[in-house]
Symmetry: C2
Subunit: 211 residues, 2 copies
């Protein structure tokens, strides 16, 4: 049985998945503070700390269970080049995917194998091909479109997302990268699947339907 | 005991409280279709039909209870001039408020009393004065900032909102009036109070705190 194609992101109540990049914030302090607010629910979780090799401990509970399940269902990921470039300098040597990751790029290079089971494959022939390769690699597990926002939107508008989950954070950012900026509203319809508040965020799951 | 100041709106998952006004939609068919999608959860409800004097019947259940409670807690409303102008031609003679309504305007006029308990008062000396008058009229019930979006944002940025509820609709509009466009994110902090999915929408309630 083939898996689903999904994405899972944290979004502010005003629709942003990343803070604004601003010239008057050269050391990215404001950016980082806003990003931490958006991700505040995830950073203390046990499964997150395990995943990033931040050491033992961390909080358990529904948020942790939900995050753990997101990791467990993912057999392969797809990401944009910019997310890869940002992550390459930030992830620990043992990159936090532990599955194949297909990176959309115009500059092909050889696969890059990391300790702990993550291998980055660089795909330069389009989002559909990258997804096919990810599906094949994932087997009966799901494919996660990891990000960033522009990559997620490309897949959404192409009708290639089966469902998605948003961790809606109780924060207003005012500016930044909007998840749904440029969505093809004439094509994408949503069906609510689940909504679960955990105190910190509300986990909202929707199935995507074609109009 | 003084009541709270709140607002309650339907918002699309991409953050819009009204569809886009477009020149290529002269008969507003597209606008109306999108608006119906956004409000789809509310239109069949018994309490909505009662309120608009649309006749007996209608659906009961949690959505209906929540809407009925929103009407019941409201002792007075405040609205912007544009919302009033649009409503003046659209509401039934028995306007659907059944309480005093304070309309922000630059063109004062005499109070306008409607059958069924709604009286519109026109206030030309600012949002704080309008709110004070609404509080006095509401007694121990709450004051609802009824809309539109720009009026809600003025009150939010001025630190005059105690809490709000969003009925988050499973729809993407792509364009229109954003609820939080122009929010002062350096000033407004949110605390999640309640989140309740009903199948049709997710009712999200937040308390507003100053940062």
């Amino acid at each position: 049985m083939a898996g689903k194609v999904f994405f899972s992101v944290s979004m502010s109540l005003d629709g942003f998945v990343a803070p604004e990049e601003r010239a008057d914030d050269p050391d990215r302090r404001r950016w980082t503070a806003q990003w931490m607010e958006l991700q505040q629910w995830i950073l203390p979780l046990r499964s997150f700390r395990e995943r990033l090799r931040l050491g033992d401990g961390g909080e358990e509970g529904r948020d942790d269970d939900i995050l753990r399940e997101t990791f467990a269902r993912t057999g392969a990921s797809v990401m944009g080049r910019r997310m890869f470039d940002l992550g390459e300098g930030a992830w620990p040597e043992e990159a936090p995917f532990h599955t194949p990751v297909f990176v959309l790029t115009h500059d092909p290079r050889d696969p890059w194998e990391r300790p702990g089971g993550t291998t980055f494959h660089f795909v330069d022939d389009g989002i559909a091909v990258a997804l096919d390769r990810a599906r094949a690699a994932a087997g009966d597990r799901d494919v996660r479109i990891a990000g960033g926002g522009a990559t997620i939107l490309q897949y959404l508008n192409a009708g290639l997302i089966d469902e998605f989950t948003i961790a809606l954070s109780p924060v207003l950012l005012g500016a930044g990268t909007r998840l749904f900026e440029g969505v093809d509203a004439t094509r994408v319809a949503l069906e609510p699947v689940d909504a679960e508040p955990t105190g910190r965020v509300t986990h909202l799951t929707y199935a995507v339907r074609e109009r």
